[in-house]
C-alpha cells in the first residue's frame, strides 16, 4: 500500500475498532449507535437502493459546482478588471456567506420547487464564494513586473488575462475549488432535507424518522466517499494543469548549464 495512505487508513481502522468495541460492550441498541460493521453491511449490502439516491446527490453537487464556476470565474475577472466594482460588490459577497444556508433552503425550495434546481442552487451558493475569493486573490498576486512586461508588449486586458493572470492564478483557483467541492455536499444535503423526494439527504431524513440509524450512517458514508472522490478528482486535475510547478518548485541543479 502507498505509504501516504497507510497513516489515514490506520487511523480509520483504529477509530472504527474503538467504535465497534464501544458499541458492542455498551449494549446500546443499533437505533442509537450501530456498530461500524453493521453500517458497512447496510452501505454495501443495500447499494442497489442507496446508489440511485447517491447518484441524484452527485448530480446536484456536480451541477452546483458547474453553476458556481459559471458565476465565480466571470465575477472574479470583472472585480479584478474593475476595482471599483470589487469595492461595491464585496459587502454583498460577504453578506451572502453570513446568511446561514439553513435560512436560505426553505426559500429556495419555495421559489424553485422540490426538484433538482433548488439543491443545485444551494450547492452553488456555498461553493462560489471560496472560488471567487481565491481566484481574485490569485489575479491580484501577479508580480507587477510581469504586468509591466505585458504592457510593453502592447497586450490588452484580454490577452494579459489569458496569457498571464489566468495561469498565474490557477494554483489559487484550485485551492478555492478544493474548499468548494469539500463543502458542496452540505448545500445539496440541506436542500434535500428541506424538501426532496430523492437523494442521500432525503434518505437520511426518511431513515431517521423510522429510527433506521444504520441507514443514516450508511448515507453519511456514501456522502463522505463522494466528497473524497471529488477532492481527489480536483487534485488530479490540478496536478494535470499545473505540471510545470513540479519543475518550478525544485531549484535548478545544473546539467544543462551552458
Amino acid at each position: 500500500m502507498n505509504r501516504s495512505l497507510m497513516l489515514p487508513v490506520g487511523i480509520l481502522l483504529a477509530l472504527a475498532g474503538l467504535w465497534e468495541a464501544g458499541s458492542r460492550l455498551s449494549g446500546l441498541p443499533d437505533f442509537i449507535l450501530p456498530p461500524p460493521s453493521r453500517i458497512l453491511q447496510v452501505a454495501v449490502g443495500n447499494a442497489p437502493q442507496l446508489l440511485p439516491h447517491a447518484g441524484i446527490t452527485l448530480v446536484e453537487i456536480l451541477a452546483g459546482i458547474l453553476l458556481a464556476l459559471a458565476v465565480a470565474v466571470p465575477l472574479a475577472v470583472v472585480m479584478f478588471a474593475r476595482p471599483s466594482l470589487e469595492k461595491a460588490l464585496a459587502p454583498f459577497l460577504v453578506a451572502s456567506q453570513a446568511i446561514p444556508v439553513f435560512a436560505l433552503a426553505p426559500l429556495l425550495v419555495i421559489w424553485l420547487g422540490y426538484g433538482l434546481a433548488s439543491k443545485i442552487l444551494m450547492a452553488a451558493v456555498i461553493i462560489f464564494f471560496p472560488i471567487t475569493v481565491s481566484l481574485l486573490e490569485g489575479f491580484k498576486s501577479c508580480d507587477p513586473s510581469y504586468r509591466v512586461l505585458f504592457n510593453l508588449m502592447g497586450a490588452g486586458f484580454r490577452q494579459t488575462l489569458r496569457r498571464l493572470y489566468w495561469p498565474w492564478a490557477l494554483p489559487y483557483f484550485f485551492a478555492g475549488l478544493r474548499v468548494g467541492v469539500s463543502v458542496a455536499t452540505i448545500g445539496a444535503v440541506i436542500g434535500e432535507w428541506i424538501g426532496a423526494q430523492q437523494g442521500l439527504g432525503y434518505l437520511m431524513i426518511q431513515s431517521n424518522a423510522r429510527l433506521k440509524t444504520d441507514w443514516v450512517f450508511a448515507a453519511i458514508l456514501w456522502l463522505s466517499m463522494m466528497g473524497l472522490a471529488l477532492w481527489h478528482a480536483v487534485g488530479w486535475l490540478e496536478r494535470h494543469c499545473l505540471a510545470w510547478k513540479n519543475f518550478s518548485d525544485k531549484p535548478f541543479r545544473g546539467g544543462t548549464n551552458r
Binding site: 513586473s145 510581469y146 509591466v148 512586461l149 505585458f150 504592457n151 510593453l152 508588449m153 502592447g154 497586450a155 490577452q159 496569457r163 498571464l164 495561469p167 499545473l242 510545470w244 510547478k245 519543475f247 518550478s248 525544485k250 535548478f252 545544473g254 544543462t256 548549464n257 551552458r258
Partner: protein
C-alpha cells in the same frame, strides 16, 4: 536618433531626475553608469511611461512621442520568463501578442536560439535551465519585439561573472547584427567599457550627466586594454569626486 530633453521627476519634494537631457545616436550603444540609487531605473520608468514625468520631451527619429512604451524593447535584471511556458513560447510572446503568425515567429526563434546557444532547449521550462540560459531567452524575447530601440536595465547584474562575460558579447549582437539603437544602464564599469560606444557618467541624486566619454576602442575589447584602463580610472575618479560608488 533618440533625444531626451529636460526630464524632471520629484519624489516627496526631492528631485530625483532634474532637467535631464540625453541623445542616443541611431545604431549607437550608449551606456549610463552611476552609483546605486542615483535614479537610473526611475529614468527608464519615465521613458517607458510606467511613471509620469513632470517636465520633459522625448523625440524618436525626429518625432515627438509621449513615451517609448510601444517603440522600445525593454530588458530588465530579472528574466521575467513565465514558468509555465517553454523557452521558445516565452521568447515568442511579443510576436504572439502582436498577432504574428505562429509558424513565422517559431522559424525566427529557432534561428535566434541557435545563435544564442539555446538550440535544442526550445521546449524546456525556465526552471529546467540555468540562470544564464534564462537570461539568453529573455534576450531572444527582447529581439522578438522587433523594435529598433532597446532599453537594457542592468540585464546581467543577477548573473555570475563567467555567464555574464559570455552574455556581454551577445548584447553586442543587438547593435552589430540586428542594427538596434541601445540605451543601457549598469553599475558595472568593466561591462560598460566592454560594450559602450559612448559612456555617460551620472551623479547621485538628483541625477545628471557629469562626464561623457566616447569609447573608440575597437571590438572585441579586453578589460586589460590600456585605453580602457585609463577610462576606468577617469570614471572612478569622477564618481568618487561626485560622492558615489558604482
Amino acid at each position: 536618433m533618440l533625444v531626451i530633453e529636460g526630464i524632471t521627476k520629484t519624489f516627496q519634494d526631492r528631485p530625483v531626475v532634474d532637467d535631464f537631457s540625453l541623445t542616443v545616436p541611431e545604431n549607437g550603444f550608449t551606456v549610463l553608469i552611476g552609483p546605486s540609487g542615483c535614479g537610473k531605473s526611475t529614468l527608464f520608468d519615465l521613458l517607458m511611461g510606467a511613471q509620469p514625468m513632470e517636465t520633459g520631451r522625448i523625440r524618436w527619429r525626429d518625432e515627438a512621442v509621449p513615451d517609448l512604451r510601444l517603440l522600445a524593447a525593454y530588458m530588465q535584471q530579472s528574466d521575467l520568463l513565465l514558468p509555465w511556458l517553454g523557452l521558445a513560447d516565452n521568447a515568442c510572446l511579443p510576436a504572439d501578442i502582436a498577432g504574428v503568425p505562429g509558424d513565422r515567429s517559431r522559424q525566427r526563434i529557432r534561428r535566434l536560439f541557435e545563435r544564442l546557444g539555446l538550440g535544442g532547449f526550445e521546449s524546456h521550462l525556465p526552471a529546467m535551465v540555468s540562470g544564464g540560459m534564462r537570461q539568453r531567452c529573455a534576450l531572444a524575447r527582447t529581439l522578438m519585439f522587433e523594435r529598433d530601440l532597446v532599453l537594457l536595465d542592468e540585464p546581467l547584474s543577477a548573473l555570475d561573472a563567467i555567464t555574464r562575460r559570455n552574455l556581454q558579447q551577445m548584447l553586442r549582437l543587438l547593435k552589430t547584427d540586428f542594427g538596434q539603437t541601445i540605451l543601457m544602464v549598469t553599475h558595472d564599469i568593466d561591462e560598460a567599457l566592454l560594450l559602450a560606444d559612448e559612456l555617460l557618467v551620472l551623479t547621485p541624486l538628483p541625477m545628471r550627466i557629469c562626464d561623457r566619454i566616447a569609447i573608440e576602442v575597437p571590438q572585441p575589447r579586453r578589460t586589460e586594454d590600456s585605453r580602457l584602463v585609463a577610462i576606468k580610472h577617469r570614471v572612478l575618479a569622477m564618481l568618487q569626486e561626485e560622492g558615489g560608488q558604482p
